[in-house]
């Protein structure tokens, strides 16, 4: 992309309003990609072969939109006109304004989604200003737009939640009970918003260094692994054959305990994510992309030098070149 910039307070008259020439400031990879300065050998300068070019991206987007269509052609199918005998309506009288508005609306899903995004953006901006003006106010409701996928950005809640992990360090059975009592003490007072509480719970569970809030029925000792294993044996006495390797930390299978009812209630009370936030992300483990022959569907081993479509071999390539190669790229 060429960089066109409007200089803010230039006194020159605008021969062409809206844009102006700016001096070229050194090397710009974006420009170099379009008009390479050196040679025509591909792959020397541009490292981003794995990245898709914007053309390819556009082609993919267009293809996906094509797959999303209901009919191949755009058609208008109107509701069949009924002979008015008020059979459907029956006893009901006139139509309310809400109903009329909804029925006459010709909005598509796209329109509704855009409205939604605009509303959320506005909400976010007003919230920001609110937070700036009153930084001390602790009343932040778990609004929908604030909840992001924890996978992408680990959300830090502003409310400190140290109640659960703090009684950990010295854990003998007595202090554990004490900790539980403490816990119960703190329970009514901890009125942190549900979402923030839940998110810290998951981060705690992901790191697995600190287990979620202690359950009553399952006393846990972090440091004392032997006693823990004894307990496990007590829990399922007829499960495993004893061997000397049972205490090997490498062989031990760690099954995390189920979260407490309190956590589950907090999770259930969360508001739904937005439409965009619930969209699945990219794959966790990136596999190299597979290409298929555009003619027969077999592996796309060779790429057409003109249009970059793939074919499986010379046979398919000849057909492609003769009939279908668009060479638009």
């Amino acid at each position: 992309m060429y960089h066109v910039e409007l200089i803010p307070n230039s006194t020159t008259t605008h021969a062409t309003p809206g844009w102006t020439y700016v001096p070229d400031r050194g090397f710009d990879p974006a420009k170099a990609a379009i008009t390479p300065a050196i040679g025509r050998k591909r792959g020397i300068r541009d490292p981003g072969r794995a990245d898709l070019s914007s053309r390819q991206n556009n082609a993919i987007v267009r293809h996906l939109a094509e797959l999303d269509r209901e009919n191949h052609r755009d058609v208008q199918i109107s509701i069949p006109v009924k002979q008015k005998d008020a059979s459907g309506r029956g006893t009901r009288g006139k139509v309310t304004s809400n109903v009329r508005r909804i029925l006459q609306s010709q909005k598509t899903f796209r329109n509704y989604l855009d409205d939604e995004e605009a509303a959320l953006a506005q909400q976010a901006s007003t919230q920001q200003t609110q937070q700036q003006t009153s930084s001390t106010s602790s009343s932040h409701r778990p609004s929908i737009n604030k909840i992001t996928k924890p996978g992408s950005t680990p959300r830090r809640s502003s409310t400190p939640l140290t109640a659960a992990p703090t009684p950990k360090p010295d854990t003998s059975s007595r202090s554990n009970r004490k900790a539980q009592q403490q816990q119960q003490h703190q329970r009514p007072s901890s009125t942190a918003p549900t979402s923030s509480r839940a998110s810290t719970v998951t981060t705690a569970a992901e790191t697995e260094t600190e287990t979620p809030a202690p359950d009553k029925d399952q006393p846990q000792d972090k440091d004392n692994t032997e006693s823990k294993e004894e307990e496990e044996k007590q829990q399922n006495p007829h499960e495993l054959i004893k061997s000397e390797h049972d205490n090997d930390p490498l062989l031990k299978s760690y099954i995390p305990s189920a979260p407490s009812e309190r956590i589950m209630q907090a999770l259930l009370a969360e508001p739904p994510l937005t439409y965009h936030a619930s969209r699945a992300g990219p794959p966790i483990a990136r596999k190299s992309p597979r290409y298929f022959c555009c003619m027969c569907g077999y592996w796309g081993k060779i790429r057409c030098k003109n249009c970059h479509l793939r074919t499986c071999g010379l046979g398919c390539y000849k057909v492609h070149e003769d009939s279908r190669c668009g060479a638009f790229f």
Partner: protein
């Protein structure tokens, strides 16, 4: 705009508190078909097929034939004989009811208009004495939810109403016996939900993954893949149009082809090698027999339906010979599509969306993404109870593939079980109808007509998200 007072009908009855009507009508409003029927009054019948007899599948579309005739809903199954160049108008877009003009027409045609309603089991004679249970796809837009609430309560005026997330209704089914768990004999006969269930709902417009805890969805973990049955059909249509006949206008026929021939491969590379056309030239003992099939296209003039048959490589040669010797005209007139790697490359995009350049992950990966935002303590319970519903669950091999890929991704300590109910399409309806028999639970979440009139639609939407 929010709180609009509907017309003050039934002023006399305002004084006393109304309760929910006893009859419950369940509509699982899918994009492709809507599943509807009355829930049983008391305990649901033990036999699943008997319970499903109350449920009717109605195409959720208004269609235009090439003769410019327009048909609505269930007329598609009876009135239409020529499916060529059929055009569809669907009120549900991306899984959500968007166009209420068309949806109202289909609902009236199917449930309210006494002339067109198929059977009296589907007729809603007096909405005032009926509770409507309407399902929606998860993560719906609030504006669309509000539209639905207002239309349901103000246009038809149902006596009771509940809008709920469709996949979560599956938890009320008899999932224990499906997974082969020991059934705990309960003293009471009321229906209760499964504690932990992970529902993969692969429908017409998208595929969603919903972890459900005690009948309620865990909202933060719901994930969606924007690929569904529609995309598979269109993808197959595109492939066939490039390689064989131009079928771009034949959405309906290609959908039938897809349902007949497509399968999810458990050995993608191996199947791909089998269908390579080079095998034939090399004179290998044609191993493609297994995968390669012919689909004979329907012939509306002769009133014949399309069907699948094993591929006959020598067919063309036979035809030529037969044409010379004057064989039956019938065999000569038929058109067949030869389907090889299309059969499994098409459903493959649900598992590897990058095959069509999509940035999203495949279904097994999405399940792991969904679980990653939940406490690790829940992972074993959800991985051991994965339920696949929706039309794509009918693809052969889908469940096996999902189970084997999930097994590779999940940690070794967790058991992975993936199951598909007997009828994956009507599974959500069945669960909803069982839920409706549990009147106590229903009363907790549903609203009455009186409440709507008092508080208005924005209160209702807050109630249904559980904020009140």
């Amino acid at each position: 705009m929010g709180t609009t007072k509907p017309r003050p009908s039934g002023r006399a009855s305002v004084a006393k508190v109304q309760s929910l009507p006893d009859k419950t009508f369940v509509i699982d409003n899918g994009a492709y078909t809507l599943k509807a029927g009355y829930a049983p009054d008391s305990a649901p019948p033990e036999d699943q097929s008997k319970a499903l007899a109350a449920c009717t599948e109605i195409p959720n579309a208004i269609v235009k034939t090439r003769g410019n005739k327009i048909y609505v809903g269930s007329q598609l199954n009876t009135h239409v004989t020529d499916w060529n160049e059929m055009m569809f108008r669907r009120p549900v877009e991306k899984g959500y009811i968007v166009n209420w003009e068309a949806q109202k027409e289909i609902w009236e045609h199917s449930f309210f208009d006494e002339k067109t309603v198929r059977s009296k089991d589907l007729r809603i004679t007096d909405p005032e004495d009926t509770t409507l249970l309407l399902t929606e796809a998860p993560n719906a837009l609030p504006a669309l939810q509000k539209n639905a609430d207002e239309i349901v309560m103000e246009e038809w005026g149902f006596g009771g109403y509940l809008r709920c997330v469709g996949p979560s209704m599956n938890a009320w089914n008899d999932v224990q016996s499906l997974f082969g768990d020991p059934i705990v004999q309960k003293a009471n006969t009321t229906v209760s939900p499964k504690e932990c269930l992970l529902v993969v709902d692969s429908g017409y417009s998208h595929t969603t993954v919903t972890p459900i805890y005690k009948g309620q969805p865990l909202q933060r973990a719901i994930r969606r893949l924007d690929l569904g049955g529609k995309h598979l059909t269109n993808y197959l249509k595109e492939m066939v149009s490039v390689r064989q006949y131009n079928m771009v206008d034949e959405t309906y026929i290609m959908n039938e082809v897809k349902e007949a021939v497509c399968f999810v491969s458990n050995n993608f590379v191996g199947d791909m090698e089998q269908t390579w056309k080079g095998n034939r030239k090399r004179g290998l003992p044609d191993p493609s027999e297994g995968v390669m099939v012919d689909y004979v296209l329907p012939d509306p003039n002769a009133g014949k339906k399309g069907f699948m048959r094993p591929h006959d490589a020598l067919l063309n040669a036979k035809k030529r010979k037969g044409g010379l010797s004057g064989a039956s005209a019938e065999a000569l007139s038929e058109d067949a599509l030869v389907l090889g790697n299309e059969r499994f490359a098409v459903p493959e995009i649900l598992f590897t969306p990058s095959d069509i350049g999509m940035k999203q992950a495949g279904i097994p990966d999405i399940i792991m993404q969904s679980l990653s935002v939940l406490p690790t303590g829940l992972h074993p319970a959800f991985l051991a109870n994965v339920l696949v519903v929706g039309g794509n669950a009918l693809l052969p091999g889908f469940v096996n593939r999902l189970e084997s890929e999930l097994r590779q991704l999940a940690s070794a300590e967790c058991a992975v079980r993936v199951k598909c109910p007997q009828d994956p399409i009507r599974s959500a309806w069945l669960g909803a109808s069982r839920f409706a028999t549990n009147k106590d639970e229903l009363r907790k979440v549903a609203i009455t007509r009186q409440e709507y009139q008092e508080h208005g639609s924005s209160w209702v939407s807050r109630k249904f998200t559980g904020a009140i």
